[in-house]
Each structure stands twice: as structure tokens, then as C-alpha cells.
């Protein structure tokens, strides 16, 4: 199932763990905040990115 990945910009601390895991799906923008690069992705892929975020700043929107 395809889902959207949402970044909580106030929660993101820019650790870069998500980008290290999946640079095709997410990047760090000029403000040091994660930014999702693709509109929809497989739920397992999105869940993995949520799991590696140390501050829970990534969530899934169905």
C-alpha cells in the first residue's frame, strides 16, 4: 500500500539517520530539516524511515 511520509519540522533535529537509510526518499534541506522527496511510497519503506528517526519526527499518512 502506498502512503505519504510526513516530517514534523519542529521535531526534526537533522540527525541525518533517515537520509543515510534512503537518500532517494528523503534529504536534508538548507535549514537542516528532513524533506521528503517522493509523494507516495511503499508502507514498509516509510515505516523503516520512521523507525530510524531518533526523535519520532517522521509519521505515516495513509
Amino acid at each position: 500500500m502506498s502512503v505519504r511520509l510526513i516530517v514534523d519540522a519542529d521535531g526534526c533535529i537533522g540527525s541525518g539517520e533517515c537520509v543515510a537509510e534512503d537518500p532517494q526518499a528523503i534529504e536534508i534541506d538548507d535549514s537542516g530539516c528532513a524533506r521528503v522527496l517522493i509523494g507516495a511510497m511503499d508502507e514498509a519503506r516509510a515505516q523503516h524511515l520512521c523507525d530510524v528517526c531518533p526523535v519520532g519526527a517522521l509519521t505515516i499518512e495513509h
Partner: protein, 374 residues
């Protein structure tokens, strides 16, 4: 596991530890002034927006099962395991039992003893300091002097330099002087692009008020008139004398489970500990990543885990649009070279000891793998 754990500190390490303890089913009270927030609040967005980087709110803490005592520990009776807590909202100090105690109060960032700086200068190392500073720089075009070109000062100068006329001062000759040359070169380039002059080897004599402006007096770079002065120089221990004999000690030595050596039922998390790393020996890591993971590790140790804490140092920083990331232990590197776009430091045996990379966040995993292979 029903005996309550008291966690002193509500920054990244304390919050991380308390949250994990609650997840594991342990009763936990976290003590700290205000709701848990990142400190120093280095996020560029925090200073730009004036919003503290909160780690949680009251509702989420309750949902997690973390009791929060809004206050500051003013006295530690270690033999009797009692803490005295001054409550933020006032009232009589509380005396609470702490049979199992985690200390996670990080570092302090006092203003240096420059005449006038204490009452005329702002700081960007605490939540209250950041909020007060933000009030002064809400309108663009302010003249700002930042004193101290370490991580906090350089990040602050680069952030403010996008909307204000900023001057960065330090007594050493380069910004981020304790970091590797590519980092200091990169920071200087960014500061130049932003029009932020860096005055190195600067001797600051004092800060004075002159009518409606301030003046930073130096004996090396003359008088620098400005609207706002930001102090970002140096750090000190936050540890109370009851926990360390040497007042200059920044951290408590811990064993591999992060229990404070020589004490039962006392652990440390974050900046205020050193631990025996299996490769680097006894080290401390004053950065966000270690604060987070050491806090979780302490929770696991309290819950009975005997696993050693082995996290490699990792720091990241954003100097405007320059993203700096480093994994490994730079002091162990005896030679450096560029390898496929990564700055790789190798130890005396030729093994990878540290990897530095800039504006390449996608290479974090690769850098860690290089280090792990060593």
C-alpha cells in the same frame, strides 16, 4: 522492577532515559526546569522562529508514563539518597527520595568574565537565553556581535548573518578551531559568503552601553558598536560537588553499562559522563547523538542489561547551508586523506578512525561502514 527511578535533567539525555524507562515499565520521575527541550537549542529553526525545540509536552509525558517534576535540584544528599528540589513555580523546596538516580544535566555555558558581558550580553545556549535573544533580533538589520567561534557561536553567527549584520569574535585565529581544517575552512567560506567578518586572536576588554547602542571594546580590533551582543564562549561542568571532588571535572567516570564508578544505583547519561569505549579507551562525547543513545542505554542497564555501551562518536552541525557530519574519534587519527570525497582519518595502524564529510548527508551509512570495517 517497581522501585522508582529519579532522572535529573530534562534535556535530550534525561528525556531519552526517562522515556525508555517508562517504555520498559519502570516508574520514573524526571526533574528539570520546564518541559523537556533540546539544549543548547542549536537548531537554526529555533533561533529563526523563536520556538524552542521541545522534546515532549505535558500530555505526551503523561501518556508515556513519565512523571515530570518542574524544578531544579539544589542539594544532593548522596549517602541518604535524597534530593532537594526548588520548584519552578515557587513554594517550599521538595525533598524527595532517590534510591536509584540518573544524572543527566549536561554542561553549563556561563558567560566569560568580560566586564559588562554578564548584564549586557545575551546567550544562545539555554532555552530562556534563546527566547530572550530572539526578542532582540526579531527585526532584521540589527548589528550583532557574537563572542566565541565554537559550534554554538559559529552556528549562531551563520544563522543570524542571514538577516543581520553580524561580527564573530574569538581569541583563537580560526572559527571552529578545535575541528579539522576542512571544517574550519568550510565555516570561514560560509561566513565570508554571508558577509560575517571573523576577527580572530581578538582580545575583548569589555562591553559598554553608549546611549541606545552597545560597544564591544577590544584591544586588538578597536571599538565595535552594535545593537546585540551574544556570548557563546566556553562551557563548564554542571555537576554538583556532592558528585565530583574536582569542580573542574566535566564528567563522571562510568563503567561500560554507564553506571557511575564507585557508586551503586547511580548512573549518568549524556555530556556528563565518560565511558570505556572498546576501541578508543575512556572518552566523553558532548553531542546530541550520544546524549540520546546513552540515555536509552542507561534505561536498559537499570532494567538489568549488562551490555556495554559502544556507540561511536557522531556529530552533526549546520553552519548556514554547510552541513558537517563526522563519525569516529578524531584524536585517534594520525593521518588524514581524501578518499572518494570523504575525509578519512586513519590511526597509526592504518585503520579508519574517523570520517568527516560535508554537504553529503546520504553518505552517513557509508562512513559508518568504513569505521565499522576497521
Amino acid at each position: 522492577m517497581t522501585e522508582r527511578v529519579i532522572v535529573v535533567g530534562n534535556g535530550v539525555a534525561g528525556h531519552s532515559c526517562a522515556s525508555r524507562l517508562a517504555e520498559l515499565g519502570t516508574k520514573v520521575t524526571m526533574i528539570g526546569p520546564g518541559l523537556p527541550h533540546d539544549r543548547p537549542p542549536l537548531s537554526k529553526r529555533a533561533l529563526a522562529t523563536g520556538r524552542l525545540p521541545m522534546l515532549s509536552d505535558a500530555e505526551r509525558l503523561i501518556a508515556k508514563g513519565v512523571d515530570h517534576l518542574d524544578g531544579t535540584v539544589t542539594d544532593v544528599d548522596l549517602p541518604n539518597r535524597r534530593l532537594t528540589v526548588a520548584q519552578t513555580g515557587g513554594g517550599e523546596p521538595l525533598v524527595i527520595d532517590a534510591p536509584r538516580l540518573v544524572w543527566a544535566t549536561g554542561l553549563r555555558y556561563p558567560k566569560p568574565p568580560v566586564p559588562g558581558l554578564d548584564h549586557l550580553g545575551h546567550e544562545n545556549a539555554t532555552g530562556d537565553g534563546m527566547l530572550a535573544l530572539h526578542q532582540q533580533i526579531r527585526e532584521p538589520g540589527k548589528r550583532v556581535v557574537v563572542i566565541g567561534a565554537g559550534l554554538i557561536g559559529t552556528e549562531t553567527a551563520a544563522t543570524l548573518g542571514q538577516n543581520h549584520a553580524v561580527t564573530l569574535l574569538d581569541m583563537v585565529d580560526r572559527p571552529l578551531a578545535r575541528f579539522l581544517t576542512p571544517v574550519t575552512d568550510g565555516a570561514l567560506k560560509i561566513l565570508n559568503e554571508l558577509g560575517v567578518p571573523f576577527h580572530g586572536e581578538c582580545r575583548i576588554d569589555g562591553v559598554e552601553r553608549d546611549g541606545d547602542q552597545l560597544v564591544v571594546q577590544t584591544s586588538t580590533h578597536g571599538s565595535i558598536p552594535c545593537d546585540v551582543v551574544v556570548s557563546a564562549a566556553g562551557f563548564r561542568s554542571s555537576l554538583p560537588p556532592e558528585l565530583v571532588e574536582d569542580p573542574r571535572a566535566l564528567a563522571m567516570p562510568c563503567d561500560s553499562t554507564l553506571r557511575v564508578e564507585g557508586h551503586e544505583n547511580l548512573w549518568a547519561a549524556g555530556d556528563c559522563l565518560t565511558f570505556p569505549h572498546p576501541r578508543w579507551g575512556r572518552i566523553g562525547i558532548p553531542h546530541w547523538d550520544h546524549a540520546h543513545w546513552s540515555g536509552r542505554h542507561v534505561a536498559e542497564s537499570i532494567h538489568g542489561s549488562t551490555l556495554a555501551y559502544v556507540r561511536d562518536p557522531y556529530f552533526f552541525s549546520d553552519i548556514a547551508h554547510l552541513r558537517i557530519q563526522q563519525v569516529g574519534f578524531a584524536p585517534a587519527a594520525t593521518s588524514w586523506g581524501e578518499e572518494s570525497g570523504l575525509h578519512v582519518g586513519r590511526d597509526a595502524d592504518g585503520a579508519v578512525a574517523c570520517v568527516l564529510f560535508m554537504n553529503a548527508p546520504a553518505r552517513l551509512k557509508e562512513a559508518r561502514e568504513l569505521l565499522a570495517a576497521a
